[in-house]
């Protein structure tokens, strides 16, 4: 799939943002006043910023409101609702904490739950796509949620939680990559099933329908070199999990904490780039191109 910056930024940043909001909702920490303002500002910057980036992916952002209509069937629509609800609910808690210096426990817990649900719904947009075998697995929501929790824990300063979760995240991500590498083959979709011509012999794409490019090729057929991908995976794991863990193990230091956050977010971006760039859509089969 084409690794469009808008979707990479959207999923990465909103994941981190909702992760932070989740912890704030749990009261971990439970800052008040100006402190609360800073925490929430950071969380909203990530979450809302991410959501804003998602609209760059739209052909008609001015009609975005219509995306709220199909919550009964569409995960994208559900995500729209959930993100608004999550932002609203956590916002209520935030207002109470910043301006009234009180924590509304029920509202905050509900907000925290909605944040995770939002991340879950984002993940489900990808997980539901049978056309992209690498995504079409429960690992997708599991990973997205772990990403959010890890990022949230890191940003919210929950070092004790962050360390194991970052470790878990690294392990899950590596597992997902390995599992994902065989997903297309396991999906059973081949050029033979795509064309129905398999019974006569082996099928090979000959002349494409057009010599130039088109929307499908631009959107769905993206090729990453194997070596290049391996390198990026290593970088991603080091950035998103390895370095932050090391930095957190070192004696506490604001610089290190900030650095941990930065490398983590950078790692998230790299791994999200790979999430898209390495995902192969079955339509590539028709063009004789997996990728």
């Amino acid at each position: 799939m084409h690794p469009a910056p808008s979707v990479i930024l959207f999923t990465s940043l909103s994941g981190v943002g909702f992760g932070l909001l989740f912890f704030l909702g749990l009261g971990m920490p439970a800052p008040l006043g100006l402190n609360a303002f800073i925490f929430y500002a950071i969380a909203y910057a990530f979450a809302v910023g991410g959501l804003l980036f998602s609209t760059f992916h739209l052909g008609h952002p001015e009609r975005a409101i219509k995306a709220f209509t199909q919550w009964r069937s569409s995960w994208l629509s559900r995500e729209a609702w959930l993100s608004v609800l999550a932002l609203g609910m956590t916002g209520l808690g935030a207002v109470a904490q910043i301006f009234f210096e009180t924590r509304l426990a029920v509202v905050s817990y509900a907000g925290a739950a909605l944040c995770l649900l939002t991340v879950f719904s984002t993940a489900m947009i990808y997980r539901q796509l049978a056309t992209v075998p690498r995504w079409h697995t429960p690992m997708t929501p599991v990973l997205f949620l772990t990403y959010a929790v890890a990022g949230g824990a890191l940003l919210s300063g929950q070092v004790g939680i962050a360390q194991p979760v970052l470790g878990l995240l690294g392990a899950l991500q590596i597992f997902a990559w390995i599992q994902g590498d065989g997903a297309f083959a396991r999906s059973g979709s081949t050029l033979a099933t795509a064309t129905g011509l398999g019974t006569n012999g082996s099928v090979r794409a000959f002349e494409p329908p057009h010599t130039g490019t088109n929307y499908l090729l631009q959107e769905f057929v993206y090729l990453v070199g194997r070596k290049h991908a391996a390198k990026l995976r290593l970088i991603a794991i080091i950035l998103l999990s390895g370095l932050p863990i090391v930095l957190l193990v070192l004696p506490f230091n604001h610089m290190f904490a900030a650095l941990a956050v930065l490398t983590h977010v950078a790692g998230v971006l790299v791994s999200r780039w790979l999430f898209f760039a390495q995902a192969e859509h079955v339509v590539g089969l028709y063009y004789g191109k997996r990728g």
């Binding site: 209509t69 009964r72 090979r204 002349e207 329908p209 057009h210 010599t211 130039g212 088109n214």
Partner: protein, 929 residues
């Protein structure tokens, strides 16, 4: 829950439908042009049109983008820069026509042959030819010489017609359809419709082609023959059929010259006093004229030592060299397969015979209760004709059909009016120019012996293209591909003005393209261009435009009158005579004029007979006026329809004629009565109908010529007989190739096979027409570049993968091009799509368009001359009988290459006289888009 939106399922389709004829290619389908607010909204096929019956191909459907193409020329142009630079100045029509007149008038007054007027994909040859004839130059022809003259002449000399315009398979009855060397052909839609019909019935299609794409891909059986060897393969099929006695003896005896007696000394026919060939009547055992009433011709007849054509034929064909075992390796087809194919032909022809209960009477007065059909049909085109042995190969194929008894019988091959038409009733070529006078007769035609050649007493060619000389005696369509090189060489003479129409001669329609560009720009010792003046008519900013001095911009096909006439290239079907018109369904929005109307005007300015009245005034206002009022013979004009009330095809001029055509969808159809529908050359009901319709002046029954006597006459001359003698260096070749019965000989374009082990071919893409399609925003997305397809083994051997580049080398040069793999391909063959490659800057495309940077022409590798032989002579790369350009004899070798920036060679960017196309197109009549 949302409510399902309401969709307007009955939107207005258009304000008006105007019916005219497509010209996105030469198939000439009927189209319905839907107009909204006077703009073209949609083009679809005309269901009532005999050619396409409603369907339309990709090109036809993309017509909208052709009439809005940014590459359209906008006004007459005068060259201001160097030739070949593309620098022009727009001028008025008055100025343009004045310049043309000033250049042409002196030529006509002194030496009319100094005008060479050649037209390309022209569909008005009866008109352009008349104009040239009245001008007085012998130098006129259209593109037929480099296109498919082998097929046309072989067909006409053999049986009075060939494929495409001449005839078609009996799609409704055939049970086996065999296709030789066709990728697309002119009969684009009808062939597709026919194949669809056959497949629906479950009948078999066999494709003989080195490449299995398109029609050959849907064929039930594919024979991946090695290029240039079809003749051998066909002779072997003939061998198998004769060996098994599976030939139609009755058909051969009655309808062919098989029973005609051949003089053992001269190899010419025994004839009676009136010149009619003689046969032996089996009943009376006497020698009579072939058409003797009631005669029963004896194919084994003998007379005074003379034997029949049939006897000679058997002796000629039934020889060990033709046995499948002997030809298998040459053709790349196993002997077993050849035998199976022959058996299948015989099986369908004789065991699956068709009998239609239709009574008919032949020209000897024999009456038949039914029409017997041998439902094998064959179609072939350039794959077998565009070779240096193409004429004889096409001959062999016609003979194959004839011995099976499938020509003009149900389920077989059927002629389309005005064919059948024996070679004798075609005109002979004429080439005598006189200042200020018309030529002594029509330019092109059929020679019947050395005396008909267009050479003067010293043996000097009369025509600039050396057509109808010993080098290519039967070049019935001229040799357009030799015009520029001969004019440049001043051989046989220098010319003053080269006038061309609709032919992209500096690019895809020439061999050795780069040297053609050099010739067009070459200057003599005085600094003048060697070809002094070039006038060209195109509708678009093609590569050729840059090489002309004066451009006469044509309209597009929806903006002009045209006439698809029975006098030249008709659109008839086997069951009907038909002709058609184009008419301006929209008005041009530029300062352009229909080329034919411009010729009418020029003709009047030059005072050409036939174009001026007695008082010197212009005879016709424009081409439409000519279409209505011109008469070839009394009662016969360009259009056959609505001439008179009873609508026979003949009759007086009708001023309302064009309006009648428009009312009738642009087309006129006259059906052939059922009893006249088959056996046309011998069926008196057809003969009478043809006379009534104006196709013949009198009934013309004739015999199919298995043995072609004119060839024997040339052979005799080569052996030293007769008054007209070839130059000595030509004798051997003439003796070899001018054989009255079909032969095969290898075409040697390279010294040895090891240096150039591969054959290189081009194919027509179905969705592109030569160079025209690239300006079309829709079509160019389908074919915007062309890879060279290589067989799997060649890819492996050279370590190549799809997308790699390779250097392809012929004796004439090298090109560097992208490659792609194809498995369904003859192992010794590589190929690419024809004419996708473009010169940078042409066609109003971005100079970096993929057509220019990745696309390429094979033409750079093909030479118009063969490499020098031992004696230093360079023969032309043409069929030695007809002069047909041997495009498909190309031999090459390949090697892997580093990807260059662009495909090689490149020739620099042309300056576009029309600028560049817009970025975005959202074509719709809805808002001002």
């Amino acid at each position: 829950m949302n409510i399902q939106p309401t969709v307007d399922t009955s939107p207005k389709v258009s304000d008006e439908i105007r019916k005219t004829t497509c010209y996105m290619c030469a198939c000439r389908c009927g189209i319905n042009v839907h107009l909204k607010d006077g703009k073209v909204a949609y083009i679809e096929g005309n269901r009532d049109h005999p050619v396409n019956q409603g369907v339309l191909c990709a090109k036809g459907s993309a017509g909208i983008m052709q009439v809005t193409a940014p590459s359209r020329l906008r006004a007459p142009l005068k060259r201001v820069g160097e030739r070949g630079s593309g620098e022009f100045q727009e001028i008025s029509w008055d100025e343009a026509l004045q310049i043309a007149t000033d250049w042409l008038r002196p030529l006509r007054e002194t030496a009319p042959e100094k005008l060479a007027f050649f037209t390309g994909r022209d569909q008005s040859q009866s008109f352009t030819g008349l104009w040239a004839q009245m001008f007085g130059t012998p130098n006129f022809a259209a593109h037929g010489g480099f296109c498919s003259v082998n097929m046309a002449t072989a067909g006409i000399y053999t049986m009075g017609g060939a494929f495409w315009e001449f005839g078609q398979p009996d799609w409704d009855h055939t049970k086996l359809f065999m296709l030789f060397g066709v990728a697309e052909d002119h009969d684009s839609n009808p062939i597709k419709m026919g194949i669809g019909k056959i497949k629906q019935r479950g009948a078999r299609v066999i494709g003989v082609n080195p490449i299995r794409s398109g029609y050959n891909a849907v064929a039930d059986d594919w024979v991946g023959i090695t290029p240039g060897t079809d003749g051998r393969f066909i002779l072997s099929l003939i061998y198998c059929l004769i060996e098994a006695g599976k030939i139609d003896l009755t058909y051969l005896a009655r309808f062919t010259n098989a029973p005609v007696l051949v003089d053992p000394d001269t190899g010419l026919f025994l004839r009676d006093d009136s010149g009619k060939p003689l046969i032996v009547d089996r009943t009376t055992k006497t020698v009579v004229a072939f058409d003797h009433q009631g005669a029963d011709p004896d194919i084994r007849g003998m007379h005074n030592g003379a034997v029949t054509v049939f006897t000679k034929m058997i002796e000629h064909f039934l020889v060990p060299e033709n046995a499948p075992e002997a030809v298998a390796d040459i053709c790349g087809i196993s002997a077993k397969r050849i035998r199976t194919l022959a058996a299948e032909l015989a099986h369908v022809a004789f065991d699956q015979e068709i009998r239609l209960p239709r009574k008919w009477t032949d020209f000897r007065g024999h009456e038949y209760d039914e029409m017997i059909g041998r439902p094998v049909s064959i179609h072939a085109m350039r794959g077998i004709s565009a070779h240096g042995n193409g004429f004889q190969t096409c001959r062999a194929l016609h003979v194959l059909q004839i011995i099976l008894g499938t020509v003009e019988t149900p389920g077989g091959f059927r002629f389309k009016p005005p064919y059948p038409k024996p070679s004798e009733i075609h005109p002979k070529p004429h080439g005598d120019a006189t200042p200020n006078a018309p030529l002594n007769g029509p330019h092109l035609g059929f020679v019947h012996g050395p005396e008909d050649l267009l050479i003067d007493d010293t043996g000097h060619p009369k025509r600039i293209d050396k057509a109808f000389t010993w080098e290519n005696p039967m070049s019935a369509h001229g040799l357009m591909h030799m015009v520029i090189s001969n004019a440049h060489a001043g051989d046989p003479y220098k010319i003053g003005t080269l006038f061309m129409y609709m032919a992209n001669m500096s690019w895809n329609s020439s061999m050795n393209t780069s040297s053609v560009m050099d010739m067009l720009t070459d200057r003599d010792e005085n600094g003048d261009y060697v070809i002094p003046r070039i006038i060209y008519s195109d509708a678009y900013s093609s590569e050729m435009v840059a090489y002309a001095d004066l451009i006469l911009p044509d309209t597009t096909y929806l903006e002009r009158h045209d006439c698809i006439s029975l006098l030249d290239r008709p659109i008839c079907e086997a069951d009907a005579a038909a002709d058609a018109i184009r008419w301006p369904v929209i008005e041009p929005d530029r300062d352009v004029r229909g080329f034919q109307s411009v010729l009418v005007d020029l003709g009047a300015r030059l005072g050409l007979p036939g174009f001026v009245n007695d008082d010197g005034s212009a005879k016709y206002a424009d081409y439409a006026d000519y279409m209505i009022n011109h008469e070839r013979k009394p009662g016969i004009g360009p259009l056959a329809g609505w001439r008179s009330d009873d609508d026979t095809g003949r009759g007086p001029v009708n001023p309302e004629q064009i309006n009648k055509y428009i009312e009738n969808g642009g087309v006129w159809v006259k059906h052939i009565p059922e009893t006249a529908g088959y056996y046309k050359p011998w069926n008196m009901a057809y003969q009478d109908w043809a006379v009534e319709t104006g196709l013949y002046d009198s009934a013309q029954p004739y015999l199919f010529q298995l043995y072609v006597e004119p060839l024997q006459k040339f052979k005799n001359a080569a052996m030293g007989h007769g008054d007209h003698q070839p130059p000595d260096h030509m004798r051997d070749r003439l003796k070899q190739v001018m054989h009255p019965l079909p032969i095969w000989y290898p075409t040697a374009t390279v010294e040895n096979d090891q240096d150039y082990p591969l054959h290189a071919l081009t194919q027509r893409p179905m969705a592109m027409y030569h160079s025209w399609g690239s300006q079309n925003a829709w079509l160019r997305q389908i074919h915007g570049m062309n890879p060279m397809y290589l067989p799997t083994k060649v890819m492996r051997d050279h370590g190549l993968r799809d997308g790699d580049w390779a250097k392809v080398t012929s004796p004439n040069g090298s090109i560097v091009v992208p490659v792609a793999e194809m498995a369904a391909l003859n192992e010794k063959t590589i190929w690419t799509w024809n004419a996708i490659g473009k010169r940078s800057g042409a066609w109003a495309l971005d100079p970096k368009a993929p057509e220019a940077t990745k696309g390429f022409l094979l033409n750079h590798l093909i030479s118009e001359l063969l490499p020098a032989k031992g004696d230093g002579m360079r023969w032309s790369n043409s069929d030695p009988i007809t002069g047909q350009a041997a495009w498909f004899d190309l031999r090459v070798r390949i090697e892997k290459a580093q990807p260059p920036k662009s495909s090689q060679p490149q020739f620099g960017t042309l300056k576009s006289p029309v600028g560049q196309g817009p970025k975005t197109v959202t074509r719709s009549t809805k808002e001002g888009s």
